[in-house]
Symmetry: C2
């Protein structure tokens, strides 16, 4: 049986329980994910000024949209997002899925306008970090400056990985890579490394992976037939992680 309650709030962590609504990064339990580590007390105090406000986003609504003026980066506190770009002709491409502790909005810096949509796939809350303020503070706090650079560089490296996936992998390999990546990120946030609840549709997975939704569905079924995963709608249990790894690392022709 797959248990629906596996996702997104690990035991002992209640960022959202009504009592612990702290606005300070210094006491945020996600700090290690989105802020630099090893800061001095006074640096930590400054860092607290990065976050101006919080903002709640209802499932299905956008945190920002393509074309909107850029002003802030956002650190996800709770919830799950997708980002997607849209071509002139209307077709769009999911460029990523983001979860707690991850930063979105970097695309807006270059032209002071967002170039993609960020849509909440479940009710979410983000920390609003005005980019001006990040700039000021990172001139004072060395570690923050480097941290911002690292976050942007990480996004670039991640994107290159997606290009590799889209450019050279077959459907099975793509889906295997996708599952492994998701479960690894969830695991590093305290969740199961074998069980997850997908917050996105087959179509959204397909868009991200450069596949049609039917192909995603069929590939899930195929994995299930092979005993690699157990799939029941959005509930996925990975039964054979090594098999998924083998799929991803397999030469195209082998």
């Amino acid at each position: 049986m797959i248990n629906q309650t596996v996702n997104l709030i690990p035991a002992g962590v209640h960022p959202f329980d009504g009592h612990s609504m702290k606005v300070a990064c210094s006491s945020c339990n996600l700090r290690e994910l989105c802020m630099p580590v090893g800061l001095s007390p006074e640096e930590l105090a400054k860092i607290d000024e990065v976050v101006a406000t919080r903002r709640k986003i209802k499932r299905g609504t956008a945190l920002f949209r393509n074309g909107e003026p850029f002003g802030s980066l956002y650190a996800i506190r709770t919830g799950f997002f997708k980002t997607c770009v849209t071509a002139e002709d209307g077709r769009d491409q999911v460029t990523g899925f983001q979860m707690a502790g991850e930063i979105i909005g970097l695309d807006g810096i270059v032209n002071d306008r967002h170039t993609c949509d960020a849509v909440a796939l479940e009710d979410a809350e983000v920390c609003v970090m005005p980019f001006e303020r990040i700039g000021e503070l990172s001139r004072e706090v060395n570690a923050l400056q480097h941290h911002v650079h690292r976050i942007m560089s990480r996004e670039i490296v991640r994107d290159h990985g997606v290009m590799l996936l889209l450019g050279s992998m077959r459907a099975e390999e793509r889906l295997a890579a996708f599952l492994l990546n998701l479960v690894q990120r969830l695991h590093s946030r305290g969740f199961s490394s074998s069980e997850l609840v997908l917050r996105m549709t087959r179509e959204e997975i397909g868009s991200y992976l450069g596949l049609k939704l039917e192909t995603v569905s069929r590939t899930f079924s195929h994995f299930a037939d092979e005993g690699i995963v157990e799939v029941k709608q959005r509930h996925v249990r990975i039964l054979d992680t090594p098999a998924l790894r083998r799929l991803v690392n397999q030469q195209p022709g082998v």
Copy 2:
């Protein structure tokens, strides 16, 4: 007739003529491409300190390789590069082609190691900009800080565009988009907007576009049959730019 001499050194620009070997950004004719604009004289003077040295890279050799320690960003002065990532199983993916004025090495920031190879596709020269120094200076020169952010953001936005291409376009659309992009970048550097010399093989184009080299070749031939381009090996003349644009903006099913 396609003229071989169209590429890479526009009339009146001789960055490499032996006399004008200036190490100062402030007097570099590529400055507007890789450095912030609208600086005060004293800011300009500081900016000159960004570039430590120059480095020449012979065609076919690497500026840096996956796994090597990261220390500097590089501004391309002359020449043409490809960057590519390699999967564990050995297959690789070209993630981009870079020309004069563009910055490479951003991938190395996050883990202090490069995560891709940067290989010169023709003899090249780069300005070596130690990342430490960029950090120091961008704390002093506001515009430089923002400029660094913008460069990284631009790379992220570019990567998202490539994802859209890889995830949702068909072969013809991909090649059309590729040609339009290349020619546009060359044009903004003073070259023809209809004629270009490819510095990469069909295989490298294919890797970048997620296609096999045969498909690239066939698609070129197809464009030629349609009278959209004239192709003779690496010499390409675009005869019908609007047709290419239409291809790119066309709905998948139309």
